[in-house]
Amino acid sequence: MAEKELTQRTAWDKVLANLRKRSLWMLHYCTGCGAVELPPTMTSRFDMERFGIMPMVTPRQADILLITGYLSVKTLKRVILIYEQMVAPKYVVGFGSCTINGGMYWNSYTTIKALDRYLPVEMYLAGCMPRPEAIISGFNSLIDKIGKGEANSWKDYYENYEFYKKNQDHVFGDIETHHDVPADGRYFGILEAKR
């Protein structure tokens, strides 16, 4: 993100960011083995709700897309559809090493090796599957980033859509997600109109 954007935030943006950070809803899309860590984080022992984080069912209502582990090509197609259905500002959080460099499945023909070549990832949580404490500390740092207005990876999807699209086509060819991402970018003012 351009440095300029960070400094020019108005007072109202700052107040808004601090309010917005107190409520994050995550789409608990259990793609990989990390999903099992989520229930203890949400329930009484670790109580994720203290920070305003709640599991949500549909992409329309979610802010965070949790990718909890390895992603097969087939699942990636669905994840991209889900990601595009989410309402911005949205953040992708990758669990464990599988999303960073393929992890344990580094030489498997079915999984994708680096998540950020297909989706703009906001944050990675280390750990071959991060424990609830790690998840909570990760989310807290995400909350601070939002508070400071630095969590703008979702804009990257619009700005470098060709890069992401090329990688996606390379992996599984064209899919019809009924979303014209560049047009959306222009419509919502994320990209300047027709550079």
């Binding site: 309010l19 917005r20 409520s23 709700e49 305003g52 209502q61 919502f188």
Partner: protein
Amino acid sequence: MNSGIGLIVWIIAYPFVSFSLGVLLGGYGRKLTARIQRRVGPSWIQPFFDVVKLMSKKTNVSHGYMHDVAMMMLVGGTLLTMYFVPVPGFHYFSQFGDYIVIMYILLVPPLGMALGVGQTANPNGSIGIARALQMLAGYEVTFVLTFIGFAMKNGTTSMYELMMIQQSGGVATWGLVTNPLLGVAALFCLQGMMNEKPFEVVIAPHEIATGPMTEMGGKYLGMMFIQHLINLVVELTIYMNLFLGGATNWFEYVAKLFALFTLVMSVNAVYGRFRTDSALRFFWKLPLPMAALGVILIMINGI
């Protein structure tokens, strides 16, 4: 606050007062549920943060003009009901619409939501609306029967007059005390009206992906939250006015609000979810006969 400048000021301020009361109630409710589940629970004003986050979403998704108008109708309908329900010191509008008007205005928001959800063309939403309308036949019918009995006994259908009659003798003349059968039956219906856990089949996240709210994202969900919060206050106030003698001052009003809400939320926290037809059967087996008995008693000796 019933005439002149006081009225104008109150009319402008009332939505904000009601919204903030709603936020407090919402927060308190989630805190209470958390405490029951031995959790810390979110902050007291968590709903406020949720609303702000939702309303500040950048790329909102709409499915058509009816979807948008429906949201306006949703919030507008609830605010309309809010103005007509008397609260301590403010009952200006109840001369223009008695409880039958309120009962029908209460149907405007669900109708608006139903039309909006219809346009989102998502079957989960339609199933949710179908369930909501069927549940209507359960709790709404019983609640109306309790009101009919009460109105017949006091010879008026205006909510404000009913309130005044109950306040005439202090606690002894509260609706719940004079007609316990009607009061208790109405309590069951209150649980249904608030869409809380035993009768929460309408939203049912696990089965139909939060039912009507499946396709509601960003500011659409935000407006539904605003409506939900104000609705909490309005429905609790309705029950209070009809059965707990309304409130003479604001402390009594807020106290009764939180008392009622504690009862509702504690039931919500510990119960599972009825299927639609079993919920209907429950309403027609217990509260309806209880209310009918209450009305018969009123007819027999006018107690």
